[in-house]
């Protein structure tokens, strides 16, 4: 890995880290989700600075190229994030359904009560 690439990667990692903190501060991102992204930023920095770690893990997995290893973990991470979000969306859809039903029932109760009296 070239020095330029190391600096660029570290820069991206640190920027991401700071941006996530800022998003949480401005309440644009819930703490609940922030940790995954903070971890990502941290990982980018660690891998940029500590290239030997990548080589070591690659060796453990049977001598995979560090770049391939990066892609592999990157994909794995994205997979995890999207699955997590799908679960969240499922929960939210359910909540929205319940709210809509509750609202409709409530309104129906009110109007029908009025028309009778």
């Amino acid at each position: 890995m070239t020095t330029q690439l190391k600096i660029l990667s570290a820069f991206i990692g640190v920027s991401l880290f700071i941006y996530i903190i800022e998003l949480v501060r401005r309440k644009k991102l819930r703490e609940e989700y922030a940790w995954v992204w903070l971890l990502t930023g941290l990982m980018i920095v660690v891998l940029a600075v500590w290239y030997d770690l990548l080589l070591y893990v690659g060796g453990l997995m049977g001598g995979i190229l560090p770049s391939a290893l990066l892609f592999f973990f990157g994909l794995l991470f994205l997979l995890f994030i999207t699955l997590h979000q799908s679960i969240k969306i499922s929960n939210l859809t359910d909540d929205v359904k319940k709210l809509a039903q509750e609202l409709a029932l409530h309104q129906a109760g009110q109007t029908n009560g009025k028309s009778k009296s």
């Binding site: 809509a100 609202l103 029932l105 129906a108």
Partner: protein
């Protein structure tokens, strides 16, 4: 206006953009029953709710479209809150012949079963589905028959009568709101509930847009198979106190 307040059953009609048809459906039902009719307008963009209301039905209007199953479920929630102990569910497009309400109701009142389903394929009427639809129906009929241990001829029928126990299940979180049909029958059996099909006549739907057409079938097929599969993975529910 519902003439007889003593009736203990309610007629639930989920409706999405059925203006122009809903009025006739309601007056058709009125010829055979004076039970309370509740129309659940599923985020309709037209005058479904107004027309239903003018025709004498009670309207529960969902603020946006939730889909057939969720609309139906809302109707059951309404029925339970109002203290009804029996319910009939029908389609809004007039496909279901209201002259069968009495026989459906009498069958569920008989007490042997929790759900009575009006089947198109038990001799009455001459309903002819399209080829693809037919394949799907046959497939799910066989699957549902195998998994429920009783013959199922029309698992997609939305013409049903329920007792209180079944109503509570339909209103609960466990009810699969996406496209409830074959999976519901299996869930009923696994909860120790009984259902029975009786022959009914159905009219061809006046509109081409059915729940099971267009781009929906592949997804429907997938969803139903997945849904049935996970039902089998779940623990059988202990029989609640009857």
């Amino acid at each position: 206006m519902p003439a007889s307040p003593a009736t203990d059953f309610i007629i639930i009609i989920p409706a999405f953009n059925e203006a122009g048809r809903i009025r006739e459906t309601i007056s058709g039902i009125r010829r055979f029953s004076d039970a309370l009719i509740v129309v659940v307008s599923d985020g309709s963009h037209d005058r479904t709710a107004e027309e239903a209301s003018q025709a004498g039905a009670t309207v529960v209007a969902l603020p946006f479209n939730l889909g057939y199953g969720a609309a139906l479920q809302t109707g059951y929630q309404y029925a339970l809150r109002k203290g009804y102990v029996y319910a009939i569910q029908m389609d809004a497009d007039g496909q279901h012949d209201p002259s069968y309400i009495t026989v459906l109701m009498n069958t569920v009142r008989g007490g042997d079963v929790d759900v009575v389903i009006g089947s198109r394929f038990l001799g009455e009427g001459d309903y002819q589905p399209t080829a693809i639809k037919k394949i799907g129906m046959v497939f799910f009929s066989i699957l549902a028959s195998l998994l429920t241990g009783q013959k199922v001829t029309d698992p997609t029928s939305g013409f049903q009568a329920l007792n209180l126990r079944a109503m509570q299940f339909y209103a609960s979180d466990d009810y699969p709101v996406d496209f409830p049909d074959a999976d519901v029958l299996i869930m009923l059996r696994r909860r120790g509930m009984m259902f029975r099909e009786i022959p009914v006549k159905m009219h061809p739907s006046p509109k081409k847009k059915s729940m099971h057409s267009g781009t929906v079938p592949p997804y429907y097929l997938f969803k139903m198979i997945l849904s049935i599969f996970v039902i089998l993975l779940r623990k059988k529910y202990p029989q609640e106190e009857a």
